[in-house]
Symmetry: C2
Subunit: 336 residues, 2 copies
């Protein structure tokens, strides 16, 4: 192993990770066994852990900055959906070999960029060699005013369903990454292809929307496993059903062009994971205030349907026919 590789945990932590903790005094410079966190008075903490693994959530040869961004962003997305303000995160790195210094510097750059974009600091963690694949387990901690966390299980009949951003782009980006000829086949411009790929590589947690959700949403969750599956989860948890309309689902220019060429890609819009947009149920009386707050936040939101009393969850096509069964999202353990 040459001088290009990191030689000790102390170097890895001191040189590359400690600067990411400089903004949070409770991290104690990553030189203690634990971090210490005092919540803001009147607030409680919102907690989430969601690991990412090479070969499942990213490719081992992706840019280390993108890998790092995604590992943090997928967790921040949950905080956004719950109406929480990010505070700190802890990170466990499992690395198959001592990383190169240039790789580790890129990785730290990606984390730093996400930290600055979403206002969060590294508070602690651990680094291990693994005989397996590279993986990153991040635990994020945010804050809400006491009792203010937006729940998943609280949707009520008649609530209006909204999603943020656009759907299906991450699946399109992944498909483009796997098939170099796809962009041409779909007639995508270079900008459109780059946009879709960016949506896959650098999900944008909708932290800017958190306050609007906390103020107006009855229920919310982030879309990590696809609209159908996650909407089904919200409805089962809430004891309700839902009806969404495919023609109302917000689409990027790239996805619109892809659908024009291959209409079957509508499946990616309704059932593919990795979008990290927000699904929210808003009481009808709060819709205009929510839309106004969303506009101020700079995050686009679109009405896609409503909560119903039927236990089923349907996405209807232009003729009013159900498009897909409920359980069509991603499940790590379901036989496929």
């Amino acid at each position: 192993m040459g001088d290009t590789h990191i030689h000790s945990e102390d170097e890895l932590v001191g040189t590359f990770l400690a600067p990411l903790a400089a903004g949070f005094p409770g991290a104690l410079g990553l030189r203690d066994d634990c971090a210490v966190l005092a919540p803001t008075p009147g607030c409680e903490l919102v907690l989430k852990t969601d690991p990412v693994v090479a070969g499942v959530h990213f490719f081992a040869d992706d840019d280390a900055a993108d890998i790092a961004w995604k590992a943090l962003a997928v967790n921040l997305s949950d905080l956004a959906a719950k109406g929480a303000t990010p505070r700190i995160y802890l990170m466990s790195l499992s690395l198959p070999e001592a990383p190169e210094r240039t790789w580790m510097a890129r990785f730290a750059e990606g984390l730093g960029a996400a930290q600055r974009a979403f206002g969060i600091h590294l508070a602690g963690g651990d680094t291990d060699r693994t005989p397996g694949h590279f993986s990153i387990a991040i635990t994020v901690i945010g804050e809400v005013p006491m009792g203010g966390m937006v729940r998943r299980a609280a949707a009520q009949v008649g609530d209006v369903l909204y999603v943020s951003g656009t759907l299906g782009d991450a699946a399109l980006g992944l498909a483009l990454k796997l098939d170099g000829a796809l962009a041409a086949r779909l007639g995508l411009s270079a900008d459109e292809a780059a946009y879709a790929l960016g949506r896959y590589l650098r999900p944008q947690p909708r932290i800017a929307l958190a306050e609007a959700l906390r103020t107006h949403a009855r229920a919310a969750m982030d879309l990590s496993d696809g609209l159908m599956k996650d909407l089904g989860r919200m409805c089962r948890a809430s004891g309700v059903g839902a009806q969404a309309v495919a023609t109302e689902l917000p689409l990027s220019a790239a996805m619109r062009r892809a659908l024009a060429a291959e209409p079957a890609r509508i499946r990616d819009v309704i059932a593919a994971g990795d979008d990290y947009e927000i699904l929210a149920a808003i009481p009808p009386t709060a819709c205009s205030a929510f839309e106004a707050a969303a506009r101020l936040s700079g995050v686009a939101v679109a009405r896609i349907g409503e909560i119903t009393s039927a236990p089923e969850v349907h996405v209807l096509d232009a003729r009013g026919e159900p498009l897909a069964p409920e359980r069509s999202g991603w499940d790590h353990f379901q036989p496929r």
Copy 2:
């Protein structure tokens, strides 16, 4: 895949994990995206994450209950050293395949046993398939009265060094596991061999000692990478040195017998990891009160040396000669 295997994340969470969260309302039955935690008024939170990986920290064919216990215990050990009371943990499981139900039930049993022993509840987590090795990333959260966390970097010249329990047993247990003929060669009784193996498989976080540490210790940390390395870390962080005396290091009956047969195993006592005992620096004026509090807690503690002004860290043998270099503990990235 037959009916013996878990078929969905919903089954895994609902059947095996949700019962472990029943004691903590903020877990929301593991049916929301995030958990919510309100610290006890007047307290702040102490946070730690330390993952364990098959082939590094345990063997994939270890009893699932032991694997689960260890994954939680190694994190609780840090809380104990910081004087914290355990509250909740989040857990990310990365599994190479859908687990068998019987395996998962044993795994949940091990977690449940550790939860009951140390007063902590599951609050959330995530489960993924991985192309790599089985790994468990746990983040524990405990509490201390505001400002009460015991630091690593606070040892002062003249402080008396203590360790809890006995040292080297886990390394002996691992050696016994790897070499079926070793117990006979060392002349260990079946009970002694089982004791050492148990110390490796089921580390005992010294949560009972947390209050005594919070009240009396100037500095403390847990011993996960071996006495020499971790004592070196405490001293570097505190800007001091230390001198410990090998003949004062507390030994189990099993280790005493092993040393009688193979004196070189003293290296496991001073430099091997996985003991998860506590190292503490106690001001001389507080020693008798600390010892009394430790007695009440039921955790044995032993004086092993003192903090010095020299930057070096030494463990002296019976003749007063230094036994080993400072940096002889476990480092995942150091060339070996």
